[in-house]
C-alpha cells in the first residue's frame, strides 16, 4: 500500500509538472505581451517586461517560475493592484474558500438528489415515474447553466422575492440556496442518468434474483445490493466533477455576483495575466489529480474485487 501511494504521489507530481510546462509554453507562444494596449508605447512595454522578468528567454522564465513555485511562491499578478500575490489571491483572500464551500454544497445536493432519482427511475422502469424522471434529467442535461441560473433568479427573486439577487460572499444560509441549486442542477441530472443506466444493468444480475429469493424487501435490494454495485460509473464521474465544481462555476458566480475563483479562470486568460493563469491551472490540475486518487481508493472501498496495487498506476 505504501509503495502504491508513493508511486501515485510521484506520478501526480510528474503530471503537474507536465501541465505546468504545457500551460507555460502555450501561454507564451501566443504573440504579443500582457502589457500591449493601444496606448502603450514600446518603452513602457519594455519597462514593464523588464520589471516582471518577461524580457528573458521563455525557458529561463520557466526555470525561474518553477524555482519559485517549489518554494510556494506563484508570483505576482501582472494586472491587478501592484504586488498582489497569486497565492494570496487564491487562498488567503478567501476566493478559493468561497468557491469551495459553494462547490461542496452543490456536490452534496447533486449526490443526494441524483442517486435516489436514478434508483427510483430504474426501479420503476417503463412506468410513468420513470418517464418523468427521464424527461426531466434529459432536459436538465441539455439546458445551459446560465439559463438555469437566470430562471432561478427570475422565479425566486423577481416573482417570489424569496431571495436576494446578489449572493455576495455567502455569509448566511439564504445566500447559498440559489447558487447551490444552479450549480447542482446539471450534475444531479447527470448523476441520475448514470445511476439509472447502471442500476438497470445491475438489477438484471443473478445476485439480485438471489436477494429476492432470500426474501429481502425491495428497498433493501435496491439500496443495499443494487446501489453499491451500480456506483462505479457515478464515482468515476464524481472525481473530476468535484475538482471542477469546487474551483467555482464561472457562470454561476457571475450570475449571482459571488466573488469566487471562477471568474479568475476566465479573466486571467483574457487579461493575459500569466501568473494567475499558471496559478489557477495548477490548482485545478492538482485537484483533479487528488480526486482521481480518491476515486481509485473509493473504487476499492465500493468493490472489493478491485485491487489497487496490481497493474499499472
Amino acid at each position: 500500500m505504501l509503495t502504491y501511494i508513493l508511486k501515485r504521489v510521484g506520478s501526480a507530481l510528474l503530471t503537474l509538472f507536465i501541465v505546468a510546462v504545457i500551460t507555460f509554453f502555450l501561454m507564451n507562444a501566443v504573440p504579443g505581451s500582457p502589457f500591449m494596449t493601444e496606448k502603450s508605447t514600446p518603452e513602457q512595454i519594455a519597462r514593464a517586461n523588464e520589471k516582471y522578468g518577461l524580457d528573458k528567454p521563455v525557458p529561463v522564465q520557466f526555470f525561474n517560475y518553477m524555482k519559485n513555485l517549489v518554494q510556494g511562491d506563484m508570483g505576482v499578478s501582472l494586472k491587478m493592484q501592484e504586488g498582489t500575490r497569486v497565492t494570496e489571491l487564491l487562498f488567503q483572500q478567501g476566493k478559493f474558500g468561497i468557491s469551495c464551500r459553494l462547490g461542496v454544497c452543490a456536490l452534496i445536493l447533486a449526490v443526494i438528489v441524483g442517486i435516489p432519482l436514478g434508483c427510483l427511475a430504474a426501479y420503476n422502469r417503463g412506468r410513468f415515474i420513470d418517464s418523468v424522471i427521464r424527461v426531466l434529467t434529459t432536459v436538465g442535461v441539455a439546458i445551459p447553466g446560465f439559463v438555469v441560473a437566470a430562471l432561478l433568479l427570475l422565479v425566486f427573486c423577481n416573482k417570489l422575492g424569496w431571495f436576494s439577487t446578489i449572493s455576495g460572499s455567502l455569509l448566511d444560509f439564504k445566500s447559498y440556496v440559489l447558487p447551490v441549486m444552479a450549480l447542482a442542477f446539471y450534475p444531479s441530472c447527470h448523476i441520475a442518468k448514470l445511476t439509472r443506466t447502471s442500476m438497470l444493468d445491475v438489477i438484471n444480475q443473478d445476485y439480485i434474483r438471489t436477494a429476492r429469493a432470500k426474501g429481502l424487501h425491495t428497498k433493501r435490494i435496491i439500496f443495499k445490493h443494487a446501489l453499491r454495485n451500480s456506483l462505479i460509473p457515478v464515482i468515476t464521474y464524481l472525481g473530476p466533477l468535484t475538482a471542477y465544481i469546487i474551483t467555482g462555476g464561472f457562470v454561476v458566480e457571475q450570475t449571482f455576483q459571488i466573488p469566487g475563483l471562477g471568474k479568475y479562470f476566465i479573466e486571467s486568460i483574457l487579461n493575459r495575466d500569466y501568473p494567475i493563469i499558471m496559478g489557477t491551472t495548477i490548482l485545478l490540475a492538482a485537484l483533479i489529480v487528488i480526486m482521481n486518487l480518491i476515486v481509485d481508493i473509493a473504487y476499492k472501498i465500493v468493490d472489493p474485487r478491485i485491487t489497487l496495487t496490481k497493474g499499472d498506476v
Binding site: Q205, D206, R209, T210, G215, H225, P304
Partner: protein, 377 residues
Amino acid sequence: MEVKSEKNISAPESTPANDDVLLDVKDLRVSFFTPVGEVKAVDGISYSLKSNEVMGIVGESGSGKSVEAYAIMGLLQSPGKVIGGTVHFEGDNVLDYDKKQYTAFRGNKISMIFQNPMTCLNPVYTIGDQLMEALTCHNKDIEKDEKAENNAKDEGKKKTEITKEEAWKRAVEMLEFVGINNAERRMKQYPHEFSGGMRQRAMIAMALICKPKLLIADEPTTALDVTIQAQIIDLMKHLQEETGMSIIFITHNLGVVAEICDKVSVMYAGHIMEQGPVNEIFYNPAHPYTQGLLASMPRLDEETHERLIPIEGTPVDLLDPPTGCSFGPRCEHCMKICTSKMPPLIDVDGEGHKAACWLHVKNAFANKSKEGAQTNE
C-alpha cells in the same frame, strides 16, 4: 371467534389430498407477453409434492421448468405473468399472496438455489454478510423459536429478534454444515475468493439457513465441473436426509435425477409429458419423449457401445406451437389425433405413473372396454 378458529382448522382439510402434501400445483399457467406475441412458457401443469420428497423436473432448455419454479417463488419478471392455476403451499394458495406475504414466504418457508454460483452471490458483500442477511431479514431465531414451540409458556415470545452474534453463530454453523472448512475465516471473505463449488455450497447454506420446508434447486450443478457436481449432489442428498425438507430438482441431467430424486416430471414445451416414480420413469418410460431422452443418454452400464439415438427435429417454437401434442412433430408414433388435440395426463400403470400421450389414452380406453367386456361376461 370460535367459529373462525374452527374454520381455520377445517380449511386446510378441505383442500384436496391434504395428508402430508406440502406443495400442490394445479393447472399452473405462465405466459410471457412479448411484443411478437404471447409465449405460453408453462401451459397447465399439475403435480403435488409431499414433505420429505424429492422431485426432479427434467426437460430441455426452454421447456418451462425454471419459469415454473420462478412462478412458485413469485420471482417472475415482466413480461412473465401467471395467468392461471393455483399453487397451494401447506394449504395456502401462494399466488394470492400480496407483496409483503411473499417477502415473508420466500427464503423462509421455501428457498431457491440457482444455476450459476459464480454470478448468484453479490460480489461486493462478504459471504457472512449475505448469509446473516437471510436470517435477519426474516427476523428468525430458529433455536429460540424451536424452544418456544416446545415450551408452551413462552408462546408469546415466539418471534424473538435475532441478535448479530446469534446470526453470526448460526451462519458459521451453516457453513460448516455444508462442508466449508475454516468457516469463521470464510465468513469474512468475498465471493470472488471462493471457488465455484464453494460458492454453490455457500448458496446452499444461505438457502437452508432459515430451515425452509422446500428447496427449489434450479440446475444447481450445470455450471460446475463434473467432480464438483458429484460433491454437490452428495451434499444435497445428505442435507435432505438430515433436514427432511422437500426438494424440487430442476435439471436436464437424467443421471442426477436417478441419483437424488424420488419422482420425476418430464417437461416439454410447457407441458408435463410424463410423471412418476423415478424407477418407473427410467425402466418403464411411457412417453415417446422420455424414451427418446433416455435413448439419447450415454450409459456406462451397457456393454455394447452403440450409437446414441438423438430425438429428431428441433424444440418447439413457443411463439408458434404446433396444434395438438407439442411433441407431435418430432414423435415417431405421431397419429392423426396427435396433430389436433393435446392428450391429457393420464395414469399409465398406477403408483402415480402418468403420461400425456394418445398412445396411452388409446390403451387406457382399450383396457377399460376390455374390463367392461369382462365384467359383462
